[in-house]
């Protein structure tokens, strides 16, 4: 029916321009020369006034990287990446480094405001309406990373009073060298994988969190990553250490301008949870996904891993992945402490030509360790999405338990969804359960919703949000509302 085709075209047009975070900030930048070699690494290290040990660490990582091959096992494809044809350091020019928010370049403040992340301390995470019947909520401390550097971190004083350290990692290297040296690379070793090695060699900034014994972090912490410069990779490094009986909830958000080129984002995140400690790590990943023909977009190749070192410690990953041209990411838990708990809640949405290969690894080492995996995969357009998960139970992990639930939802018939669960159980007294479903949004469902007055977009939004409910409810309220909207926006133009 022509009327329908027309609507679909209109909606598709909407879809193309629906990435509203795609603007570019015009600001003077300090670049390292293009290309990757020891000199680049020395330059990054000297710009950051790093100690010798860290330079040596980077160079060792670089040496390891040079012997490694880009992994090919993921179900994604892209033209070869020319690692010499990119900038590895790009920072807004500034005098000494802002001591306070007043010193931050107003252009940057405007950028974050436009992104809905105001960097003044009274403010809430904006762009999110307060749900009915709810009070304005607790403030959130934000670390804003712009290309290669952290440009501002809010609420540091309030946090310091509680004993919590929240600062750019480059600053932590200077101010808390012992902590950084002890833990950096202790969860993800420099030679862990190709992209982790690359990150270790050239990482520029990221967040550092330390929560001392017995402290419950008094507010949510968040880092907002923004890629702005052209031809520039972003290699951030995040390290979160939570001591005995302490806890923290940390959120991460990311956006980038719309560009025809592909940009590389290769981050490493390391979490360490000691006895009875708990870390909740939430991500809403919304890097530019490329246009509807697959031109441009971020290559998001990320290594995230948490070590539950102490007994009864808990690490919970929640991710909503809507952006990036390619996502390659497996947030994992090493369940070492007796009775420790690992959780992975994931929604991965791909539309148009996006590709995602994402999942988790749960490594059960200690006795009575438990893990839960709930992965929701939504594919639309010509996209392709794979859940890849590993549950490994080592011989000593008696009483270990895992429950895995993988659900795929297909929108249209040009897309693909795949589930690749690996289970390695070397303990007879462990229990592993796996459930998987695949479904489609049916014509019947669409017609039913539309007969009740819902637009196609609202109908898909409702069904998709219903499909993801079990994951979305794990997000902190602020992010849950944003994530719901994001899901709907990223699927615009996918039905008709």
């Amino acid at each position: 029916m022509p009327a329908v085709t027309e609507t679909r075209e209109q909606v598709e047009k909407l879809g193309q321009s629906s990435y509203k975070w795609g603007f570019e900030t015009d600001i003077e930048m300090d670049f390292a020369p293009k290309g990757l070699n020891e000199d680049t690494i020395r330059l990054i290290s000297s710009r950051k006034e790093e100690p010798q040990w860290l330079l040596d660490w980077r160079l060792a990582a670089f040496a390891a990287w040079q012997t490694m091959e880009e992994p090919t096992w993921a179900k994604v494809s892209h033209p070869p990446i020319d690692y010499q044809d990119a900038y590895y350091y790009a920072a807004p020019k500034k005098k000494a480094g802002p001591k306070s928010l007043e010193e931050v370049d107003p252009e940057l403040l405007r950028t974050y405001e436009k992104l809905g992340i105001p960097l003044h301390e009274q403010a809430m995470l904006a762009g999110v309406e307060v749900p009915e019947g709810e009070e304005a909520r607790m403030p959130i401390a934000v670390d804003a990373v712009f290309d290669s550097v952290s440009v501002a971190t809010t609420f540091r004083k309030t946090l310091a009073e509680a004993g919590v350290i929240f600062c750019p990692i480059s600053e932590a290297v200077r101010d808390y060298p012992d902590l950084v040296r002890q833990y950096l690379g202790s969860v993800v070793p420099v030679g862990d994988n190709f992209f982790a090695a690359l990150n270790s060699a050239v990482f520029t900034d990221g967040s550092f969190v330390y929560v001392p014994k017995g402290v419950r972090c008094p507010m949510e912490l968040s880092t907002y990553f923004r890629i702005n410069a052209r031809n520039t990779g972003q290699f951030e490094r995040t390290l979160i250490i939570v001591e005995d009986k302490a806890s923290v909830s940390y959120l991460e958000g990311c956006t980038a301008p719309m560009r025809d080129e592909n940009q590389l984002h290769a981050a490493v995140v390391e979490l360490v949870a000691m006895e009875d400690a708990s870390i909740k790590y939430s991500t809403v990943q919304n890097w530019y996904p490329g246009d509807e023909n697959g031109l441009g977009g971020i290559y998001n190749f990320v290594t995230k891993r948490g070590a539950c070192r102490g007994a009864r410690s808990k690490i919970s990953w929640t991710q909503v992945e809507t952006g990036s041209a390619i996502t390659w990411k497996y947030p994992s838990c090493i369940l070492q402490g007796e009775g420790s708990v690992g959780e992975f809640y994931s929604v991965a949405v791909t539309n148009n030509r996006q590709q995602a290969d994402t999942g988790t690894k749960m490594i059960h080492i200690g006795r009575n360790t438990r893990s839960t995996i709930i992965a929701k995969t939504i594919s639309a357009g010509h996209s392709d999405s794979t859940y890849r998960g590993l549950v490994r139970i080592l011989p000593k992990a008696s009483g270990a338990r895992n429950f895995t639930q993988c659900d795929s939802l297909l929108i249209g018939d040009q897309c693909g969804a795949h589930t690749v669960p690996y289970i390695e159980n070397r303990n007879m007294a462990a229990r592993v359960e796996h459930e998987a479903t695949t479904s489609k949004i049916s014509e019947d469902q669409m017609f039913y919703c539309r007969q009740r007055g819902l637009s196609e977009e609202d109908a898909v939004g409702l069904i998709v949000n219903g499909f993801c409910k079990d994951v979305l409810k794990e997000l902190p309220m602020e992010f849950a509302v944003e994530a719901q909207k994001l899901l709907q926006i990223s699927l615009e133009g996918s039905v008709g």
């Binding site: 009327a3 009740r452 409702l462």
Partner: protein, 256 residues
């Protein structure tokens, strides 16, 4: 001609495994405002198809004929526009929406049509008040609101849920496709009460049914017999009683 619902010479077909299959073969039907009409007829005569075509289901291709609704060309409108204009279809087989909370669905739908009709949206509190009043009137438990749309509902619960949606959406044309089938007497009563509560000079209903019992409660203004894709006979409420006793045989002979 009445300007409420006017179906004229309606032909529609469906693509059945590559071959077009004509199902509606010249339906003529006029429903004036404020009236309740019943359609009866043997299985496979095209009753559900007619209701789908009126609601705008895309798999059916209208090859000729017209439908005007309150002066508008109904066939040119998208399904959601028809809903906003007041068309409500209670499905013969209501659809399940896994993970979608029933109350949330209902509120989204109510607000979508309110928006389209230029009315203010209902906030959570106002919605809850309205929906509680509706469930109470239909002797339904509020527990049904917390479940996912039609998922795990019994046949009777699904039908009652359709009536609840109808009550909340305040249509001006309600099409009920065998909403009474498989219901016990009490549930039947609820369906009838749902329709009767909406009755007004600006509301009409098209009730597809096989049973005299529902019509006893509704007291229809007109009863039509559909056979082989056409309305073959029309009469007053007494026609339904006749069919109840004699069956369709005599009308089918007429249609052939």
């Amino acid at each position: 001609m009445s300007d409420f619902l006017n179906i004229s010479g309606l032909h529609a077909r469906i693509d059945a495994d590559g071959a077009p299959k004509e199902i509606l073969r010249g339906v003529d039907l006029v429903i004036p405002p404020g009236e309740v009409h019943a359609i009866m007829g043997p299985n496979g005569s095209g009753k559900s198809t007619l209701s789908y075509v009126l609601a705008g289901r895309e798999d059916y291709e209208v090859t000729s004929g017209s439908v005007s609704f309150k002066g508008q060309d109904l066939l040119a409108m998208e399904p959601e526009e028809r809903a906003a204009a007041g068309v409500f279809l209670a499905f013969q087989a209501p659809i399940e929406l896994p993970g979608v909370n029933n109350a949330n669905f209902l509120r989204t739908a109510v607000n979508a049509v309110r928006r389209a009709r230029g009315d203010a949206e209902l906030d959570a509190v106002a919605f809850l008040k309205t929906v509680r009043a509706a469930t109470k009137k239909l002797s339904m438990s509020d527990e049904m609101l917390k479940r996912n749309v039609n998922v795990g509902f019994s046949g009777g619960e699904k039908k009652r849920n359709e009536v609840l949606q109808m009550t909340m959406l305040q249509p001006s044309l309600a099409i009920l496709d065998e909403t009474d089938s498989g219901l016990d007497v009490d549930a039947l009563r609820i369906v009838a009460d749902g329709v009767n509560a909406l009755r007004s000079p600006t509301f009409s209903a098209l009730v597809i049914t096989h049973h005299q019992r529902l019509l006893d409660y509704l007291n229809p203004d007109r009863v039509h017999v559909m056979a082989r894709g056409r309305i073959v006979h029309s009469g007053g409420a007494e026609l339904a009683k006749e069919i109840d006793v004699q069956g369709y045989a005599s009308f089918l002979a007429e249609a052939a």
